[in-house]
Each structure stands twice: as C-alpha cells, then as structure tokens.
C-alpha cells in the first residue's frame, strides 16, 4: 500500500491504496465520485474523463499514484454555488444526454474547448470530442449542446449571470 494526498473538486483527501490502482477506480470506489464512468477501461471511449492538474485525461489509464499532490476535477466539481456550468445546462436543454452514460465525459471535454475557444466552429467541437464515444450515437445533439453552451457562456459574459 502507498499513501497519497490530493485535492478533488476543492476538497483535500488522504488515502492509502494499491500502487497499481487506476485514478478511475480510486475516484469511484474509494472516494465515491460516481460521475466518473467505467466503460472501456483502455483509454478509448472517454467516459472516465477528468481534469488532472487542469489537463483532460482518461482516468482509467492514469495511475492514481500519479495524482499525488495534484488537483483533480470531476463532473461533480463543475457546478459552482449550486449553479450548473453552461455546458451542463445546454446538455439538458437540447436533450443531448440520451442514455446519459457518456455524458459526464463529453461535458468535461466540451468545457476544455470552451475555456480555450469561447466561439468554436463545428470542426473544433468534433476535434475535441473525438476521444469520447456515445453508444447511442447521438452526436448531432451533442454538437448542438456545445454550440448552445458557447452562446450561454458568451451571453453570461456580456449580460452577467
């Protein structure tokens, strides 16, 4: 067993864990962040996507020990003061969540895009979600949701919340 200390969604955690444990299994099974979804477990589908030190990663192929002294954000950490992030609002408004299993991963990827490109093209959107798979194949609504999220975010910047 090894000891690690890290910050998840603004909260400090200390844990003792097996060295081979993935960040995905650690976040779900030891800390209870079930918004991190288990799907392919090989880094191909993006359902387990989180931010590690601000970077988008697949937590299934990230060693939990590599997050020692680091900062993790999961989908549970996107809302602030009880208010959903524009990407989350947009996914609800457009019905982009179908079975919903891939949704947290898509939301994490979409937010990274909007942080860097507030007004993305459809190609920018397709690029950033290429690491996320939707088994319902509902990509059209997902792309619409991300476009709507960009509009909401711009409107918030212009008019305030």
């Amino acid at each position: 067993m090894i000891e690690i200390a890290l910050n998840v969604n603004g909260k400090e955690h200390h844990a003792s864990l097996q060295p081979y444990l993935s960040l995905m299994d650690f976040l779900r099974d030891m800390l209870g962040y079930k918004g991190v979804k288990v799907c392919c477990s090989t880094g191909e589908c993006g359902a387990c996507t989180v931010y590690m030190n601000g970077k988008l990663v697949n937590s299934c192929v990230t060693l939990a020990a590599a997050a020692d002294s680091g900062e993790i954000t999961t989908v549970e950490g996107l809302a602030s003061n009880g208010k959903l992030h524009p990407v989350q609002i947009a996914f609800i408004e457009t019905g982009a969540s179908q079975c919903g299993y891939c949704t947290p991963g898509f939301i994490m990827s979409a937010k990274v895009l909007l942080d860097e490109h507030p007004n993305p093209t459809v190609d920018d959107i397709k690029d950033v979600i290429s690491g996320n798979i939707c088994r319902c194949t509902g990509y059209t609504k997902i792309i619409e949701a991300i476009q709507l999220a960009a509009s909401i975010q711009l409107a918030e910047q212009v008019y305030g919340d």
Binding site: Q18, Y20, G43, V57, N58, D68, V112, S130, G131
Partner: protein, 282 residues
C-alpha cells in the same frame, strides 16, 4: 507489488537494475495501465513522473533535444516542431485523442517499440537518436539501431530512455506522415508512411528518407526507394516506381487488423501520396 517513485535518473536505473524483467516503468500510463488491468501485473512498478527534468523541448545549436517525459500534446503545441519538424508534428497531431495526447509521452511511445508506434517512422526519417542510461552508463544510439523487435529495444530490462536528439532537417525539407487506420486517429495504424525529402532547386531530390510503420518487426526505412529517388527529378512515373519499391521492401505480417497483401497495397498507396504531397509543395 513493490512501488517506487524515484526523483533521480540514477535512482531509477539502480531500481531497474535490481528488478530487471520483473519491473515496469510507468510515465503517462496509457499503455501500461491497460496491460496491468488485462494482462500482467509486474512485481515492481517504477513511476518516473517525478523525474521532472526529463520534460523539455530544447532547441540547441546542433539538434533539437526532447526529454522522454515530454507529452505528445506538448509536441503538438510546439511552434518549432510544427514548422521545422512537420513529419513529427503530423504524427503528434494524429495521435489518438486529446485525453491521450495530454498523458502519453514521447519516451513511452519510443520505449514501447510497437512497430505501429505513431512517432517512430517519422523519427526514423529525421534520423533521431535515443539517449539512454543503463547501469553501464549513458549511451546515444540512432533510433534505427535502437529498435530490436516488437517491444524490444537496446534499453533491455534495465535501461531508462532520457530523451531524443533530432538533427534539424534542411531548410527546404518537406515532411509528411500519413496513416491508414480504420477509426482515424483513435485507432492503431494498419500502415503508416513517413517521408522527409530535401530538394535541390525545384524538383531534384537531394535526399529522400522514407519510414514505414506496422509493416515489420520494427519501424523501418525503405532504403531501396530512397536510393532510387536520390538525385533525380521527381515526376509521377518515378513516384509510382518508388511507391512500388517501398511496398516490396515492406515485411508485413497478416493479423486481425489486415493481411500482409493488403498492407503492401497500402504502403504503395500512402508512399505515392506522401511523395506527391512533398513534391507539390516544393
């Protein structure tokens, strides 16, 4: 399972020396985490992420030095690589998803020595060298001699790759990397073809280097086709001949991704396309 997280290259190498075949290095983890979940768990896991001085892209006078822990995303975002080392940038840009590019390292891609490794054929055409440390000391070896077989390199069980040294291609060099995969960048290549070509004046080839991925036990150069092109003016018949030559030089096997015969067709097709792109951009 024993676990180490060394903070110096010396410590890492002495741990590897002690545990040998029973140890595995982990950096980004994008390959090893899958192995550990579905295949084997090593007796000893060596996390090298704290060797923070192995993460750099350093343009020195004689060559570009890239640290082993530099991520694929850092290569993709680097302006010098995008402009002067286009063949490598192409590979980094087509490398899986953003999630993977943020984690996967150039050192891991090289040390893993998959014949289909995305950056390997491009690096062969740039004549890059591997710098590594073993219990016997430090070595610098051209990548072409570094790869020994699928998953086998000059590192053996006890070596640590610390970085690569990439000579600057000539100013007018054209680099192209094309991959054929079923699911685009997310998928392992069926065949990859890299070319780095320098021209004398308008279309006479000064030097042509062609690298092939996933068509042999290691990534390889198509030396025969390179020699065929040397000193000649490129035109469509010559490109056709070189493409056919590269397909003949390839040593593909049949597996669940493609048959050997199909792989040769793709080598021919991608080589033709890569040479044509290089030629049209002169």
């Amino acid at each position: 399972m024993e676990y180490f997280s060394p903070t110096s290259v010396e410590d890492a190498v002495s741990i590897l020396h002690k545990y040998g075949e029973r140890s595995r290095l982990i950096a980004g983890g994008t390959d090893l985490m899958v192995d550990m979940r579905f295949k084997d768990q090593p007796d000893c896991l060596v996390n090298i992420n704290r060797l923070s001085n192995l993460s750099f892209i350093k343009p020195d006078e004689d060559c570009l030095r890239i640290g082993a822990l530099t991520t694929i995303r850092e290569l993709e975002a680097n302006h010098l690589i995008k402009t002067r080392f286009r063949v490598l940038w192409n590979a980094a840009h087509q490398f899986a998803s953003l999630q993977i590019r943020n984690a996967a390292t150039i050192g891991g891609n090289i040390a893993r020595a998959s014949p289909a490794g995305e950056t390997l054929a491009p690096l062969l055409t740039l004549e890059a060298k591997a710098r590594f440390v073993t219990a016997d000391g430090e070595q610098l070896l051209p990548l072409e001699r570094f790869f020994l077989g699928p998953g086998r390199t000059a590192l053996g069980a006890g070596g640590l790759l610390t970085g690569i040294e990439v000579p600057y291609p000539d100013d007018g060099a054209r680099g192209v990397y094309l991959k054929h995969a079923v699911r685009g960048p997310m998928d392992i290549v069926v065949v990859g073809v890299a070319t780095t070509i320098t021209f004398d004046g308008r279309s006479a080839v000064n030097e042509a280097r062609i690298g092939l991925a996933a068509v042999g036990p290691t990534p390889m150069r198509a030396r025969g086709s390179e020699q065929l092109l040397q000193g000649k003016h490129l035109d469509l018949p010559l490109i056709e001949e070189a493409a056919r030559g590269a397909a003949e030089e390839a040593k593909p096997i049949s597996d669940h991704r493609a048959s050997a015969e199909y792989r040769r067709w793709i080598v021919e097709s991608l080589t033709r396309r890569a040479l044509t792109q290089a030629w049209q951009n002169v």
